[in-house]
Structures are given as C-alpha cells and as structure tokens.
Assembly symmetry: C2
Homo-oligomer: 354 residues x 2
C-alpha cells in the first residue's frame, strides 16, 4: 500500500476535522454533504464549469462539434491503493481511455462516489487528490459529481463511477468491427503489469515484486497515432480480460481471424515469473495503460514510429496479423514454434482489478 | 416488496439459465460478461446507438446544439423494490430530472452496475426491465454501460450509477443563484411520499400505509413550464434532504430570504401521520417526482396553470415567496400562525432513500 499522509499532515479542512471517517450523513444531501463538497471535492477539482452543488453541469461545446463519445465505468478495485496507483488514478484513466479508444478528445468527466461508512477521511482526501492530478494531466475537467454513503459492511471503502464526454473528430470511424484481413496488430508496451501489481498486494497473496501498475491516460498517444495516419481501424484498451479478451472481441465483431506472435509480445520478466508461479496466462491479465491498435499493414511502421517516440509507447511492438482464416478465432504462434488457440476468457482470473 | 415474477416466469434467456445468481465472472469482462450484455442488457435497452460491448457510445448531436447538460448520480436505495417503484425507475428518473432541472432536454443515459455476488438474476432482470420502461417513457436512450461484480457481503444486491447528457436550449439561464426577491415558489404536488414509502418497508420499520413513491420523470413537466414563460429562475428537484434542503440551498446561493406558507404545502394525510409517528419533518423527507420552481411573481399563475394541466402537477401549489429579508434563511409561517426557522438538514434522517 502506498504511504498515505497522516491525517494531520494532509490538509484536511477545518470543518471536516471533527470527523476522522465518513458518516452516513455525508451522503444525506444536507450540510454534511455540503461540507464534503465545499471543503474536499470543490478545492480538488476547481474549474469554471464545476457544478459543486447543482443538479447538472452545463458545458459549452467546442465550435463545430457534432459527434460525442459518451462512456461510463465503475471502479471497485481492491485494494484502494496499490503499487503505481490508486482507485483515483484508475477511475480517471479508465474512462479517459474508453473515450480515447473511440478516437474522441476527452473533455469532461463526472464522478460518483459510493463511500462506506467509516472510510478514513484522509484516504478519501488522498484518492481525490490523485483523481484531480490525473484529470489535470490528462487535460480533462471533472465537472459534476455525486456522493452516496452506505453502512459499514455494505461497501468496500470506496467505489467510484466516472462517466466521460468527448468530441469525436468529423469523419473518423473506429470500431471493433472494422479490422480487415492483412491489418497489423500493434501494442504500445509490456502487458500484464497492472494485474500482477494488484495481485502482489492482494490479501493472502502478497509476494515480493518490482511490478507496478501501468495505469496511464492514453489520449495523448491516441492523438499522436491519429495524426500519423488515417489508416487506423480499431483502437482498444485491453483492461479486464487482458489482450486475449480484446482480440477475441475484435475477431468476433469483425469476423476475421487473428494470429499473434508470442515471440513479439512485450512482457516484463517479473510479470512472466509471477504468471508462471500462479498459473496465469499473461494474455488474460489486465492492463490499464495499454492500447491495441489494428492498422492497415502499410501504415504499421509509421504508427510504430509514432508510438515509440511517445513516453507511453517506447516498447511498442507489432504483435500479430489479421487474417481471413478461421474468422472469429484468435491463435498464437508460440515461442517454441507451435500454435495455440487463445480463447475468450470466461471471467476474470483476478477479480476486481479495476 | 413488489411482487417479482418467478425466475421461470421471467423470460430469462437460455444462456443465463444455468446461473440463478450473479457470479464474480459476470464482472470479469470475458464471455460471462458478454452473456449478460448480449442476453439481458442489450435486449432491454435496444437502440441504434447502444454500444453493447464497446468502450464508448458515439452520439450524433441535434443540429445547432452548443450547450450540454451533464449529470451523474449513484443509486444505493434500500430495499431494491418498494411501493411504487424500484432502484431501476429511480436510477432513470433521478438523472433525467437532474438534467431537466438545468432546463435541458435529456437525451442519453449511461448505466454502471455494481452487482453483489449472489444477486438473483430474476431480480436483476426485473430491475433492468423497469429501467428500460422508464427510459422509454422519459424519451431517453440508454447508450452505454458497465458491469462490475463485488463479492458477497461487499455490496447490497445492486448499486446503479446513471449519468446523463442533454441539450440546453440557447439563451436559457436557470440556477439556484438566480432567485430574486418577489419571486413565487411553486411545487407540483404532495411532498414526502417517496421517503415515507421507503420507510414503510425498511427492515425493522415496516408499518401499514397506502403511501407509494412519487418517482417520475419530470422532463415533460419542465418542457411545459418553459413553454409557458421565460420567467423561470430556478428549477430544483427536492430529493435527499427534501424541500428544506432545496430551499436552503436556493436561499444561500441567491442570498435571499424564503418564506414558506405551511398551510399551502400539499401533504397527504398518510404522510402527515407517518411523520408525526416517527418525529419527522415532512419538509426534510425525500421526493423523487417533485420539482420546486422559482418564477417571477407575474408568471406564477400561468406556470401553476400549466402544472395543473399536466398529470404530474394536478396538485401544484404556490408554497412561498422570495424576500429580501434575512438573506440565506428559510422560514415558514406555521399552520397555527407562528413562524419557524427551517434549517438546512444536517444529514438525512432516512439514509439510502435513493
């Protein structure tokens, strides 16, 4: 668990100091809720559009915007703080990335908190601080929010929903149904870091590893790709279910085959060892800062070049090819020269990783 | 609790039948999640924009739209089914109403489900069916969603976040800071029904009453009001914290005084009795189908007339006046001719009513 500031080190505003933890009344819509908004959420997320106590934020759209991307995700990750991040960063990055995968420029986020009675206020403060930093560095504004409180034992500290709105450039068409035989499959770096980082600090599972979550906002990287070529067909972030789930979905929706080259898959040594130890397939382990790009073969080198010049894409690789063989199926050429089928994972081997 | 269809009466699609309850894998992003989306969510919410398995929905904006309303709310109501509704209706109506209170035409909703392991699938099916009906009758499309599952004991059956996007007409300005001395304060009907309906079925509290929740989508009513007059200054739905919290917020944000006339407040006899029994002030009890409108005095009669011609406003009443006395304070002329201060409620006397 990341080191948290002690309550008295954290700049807990005076009206909140007589509580050390969340009480039911913080979700009641009265003056306790107002305290939380005024002294904790509003200072963290301060911006002109933030509608701190209103029903809705009212947003001016950029001139000429005609298409919106709209996305939602709830975050129930355990533990709340982990190597490389917290539920705060994940809640911002995850939704920003979902918008970016539609080719949108993410603009606005909402945040809905479901807090468990007794959650230490300094934990909430730290989560909110990290959300605020993540939003700022991704270039999005958190403009509207909501707080509910559930009784001790009916939650898990903190669940967060973020929804996001972005603007999709005119003419852009991306989607999991648009992969075509011959397309190249690229990834921007090592897989499995997020899932293994979470596993390493899960109750009953703790083990020593240097792996930290790859959680990151990918909208800048997507903008670089789209500036390099119009020949991008699919962008997806392989989160829950990992690269295996993402590629199976693309194969199924596009009715194409996909052949992976396991030799080309970037995987860290620690992740590989942990996967061997726990019997996990790294292809099914979650990522929070990776994207899979399916691009026209001719454009692959240009896109790889763009990716590798970006801090989040230095280890980008071409990991496979789309074919017209075995539509709907994903297979891999293994390191020892064989072929194996990569099925759609049934569920998640590591539940609650986001 | 409302009568639920038995599992075998509910049209549970075949691939889901071998589960009677939610399992962790339904939140794993793999084929179990896909089953739930394909066989339960997608059929219920079917529309052209619904992005059943994608990262974001991509939405065409109405021509000329330049301002969006964007709102979010998480729903943690207990119990999930109650007289007059369920978490499904509340989750749609609540967010539709938040958009409507900004004067927006609500267009699109997202839905984020946090399900507890073991939630009976027929309960989820019934909740989703009710959401779908509520969305259809409110004229909004549910276009994107997310499902997470938490272990048994870490949730409460089902929490739902909905976020919403609407378009705000050009030139319209509404807000809790815009009440002016002399304005009339109107409400569209009886207060307290929702909170008392929930209380009547709360564990340990069950009592006999005919009160049912007033949960309703108010966007049609708002459209009627805005068509009648440009002189609407504030629209708010008095949910958590009731009319007392709403009026205190308006008084504080507009720096005006508000004087209520308790004789004019529409309250049902059963709600009044229940409030007496439990020592509750009906002004602090939640509503889910009410709005408070602050309008220029000259426009009050025209707006009341519009309200009373609408099925959701038949018992509309003028309940108070904005003054320049005691800015920031709300008081009431009581039924016996006295005056009492109506303070901002601290928290919620009945937690988890939405």
């Amino acid at each position: 668990m990341s080191k948290l500031p002690r309550f008295d080190e954290w700049t807990c505003p005076l009206p909140l100091r007589h509580h050390t933890g969340i009480v039911m009344g913080h979700g009641g819509g009265g003056s306790l809720t107002a305290d939380l908004v005024e002294h904790l959420f509003a200072p963290a997320f301060r911006n002109d559009t933030l509608d701190a106590m209103g029903d809705s934020a009212v947003l001016e759209l950029p001139a000429g915007a005609t298409r919106l991307a709209f996305s939602t995700d709830s975050y129930v990750i355990r533990p709340l703080f982990f190597p490389g991040g917290s539920i705060g960063e994940i809640a911002v990055h995850g939704t920003v990335n979902d918008l970016a995968m539609a080719g949108a420029q993410p603009l606005f986020l909402s945040a809905g908190f479901i807090l468990e009675e007794g959650l230490p206020l300094d934990h909430l403060g730290e989560i909110v601080r990290r959300m605020s930093e993540a939003a700022r560095s991704a270039g999005v504004l958190l403009v509207t929010g909501d707080t509910k409180v559930v009784e001790k034992g009916h939650g898990d500290g903190c669940y967060i929903n973020t929804s996001g709105v972005g603007v999709v450039p005119a003419g852009l068409k991306l989607g999991p149904h648009l992969a075509r035989p011959g397309d190249a499959i690229l990834i921007n770096g090592r897989i499995g870091d997020h899932g293994i980082a979470i596993l390493s600090v899960r109750e009953g599972m703790e083990f020593e590893t240097a792996v930290v979550s790859d959680t990151a906002a990918l909208n800048g990287l997507v903008a670089a790709i789209l500036a390099a070529t119009p020949d991008v067909h699919v962008l997806r972030d392989p989160t829950r279910g990992g690269v295996a789930a993402t590629l199976n979905e693309i194969a199924s929706r596009s009715q194409v085959g996909i052949v992976l080259d396991e030799n080309a898959l970037p995987i860290g040594g620690d992740v590989e060892s942990a996967c061997e130890l726990f019997g996990l397939d790294p292809l099914t382990v979650a990522n929070e800062g990776k994207l899979v790009a399916v691009v026209a073969s001719e454009a692959a080198d240009a896109v790889l070049d763009q990716l590798r010049h970006h801090p989040l894409g230095r280890e980008a690789a071409r990991i496979g090819t789309v074919t017209d063989q075995h539509p709907g199926l994903v297979s891999a050429r293994t390191k020892i020269g064989g072929t194996r089928l990569i099925p759609m994972p049934l569920g998640e081997q590591l539940p609650r990783i986001c």
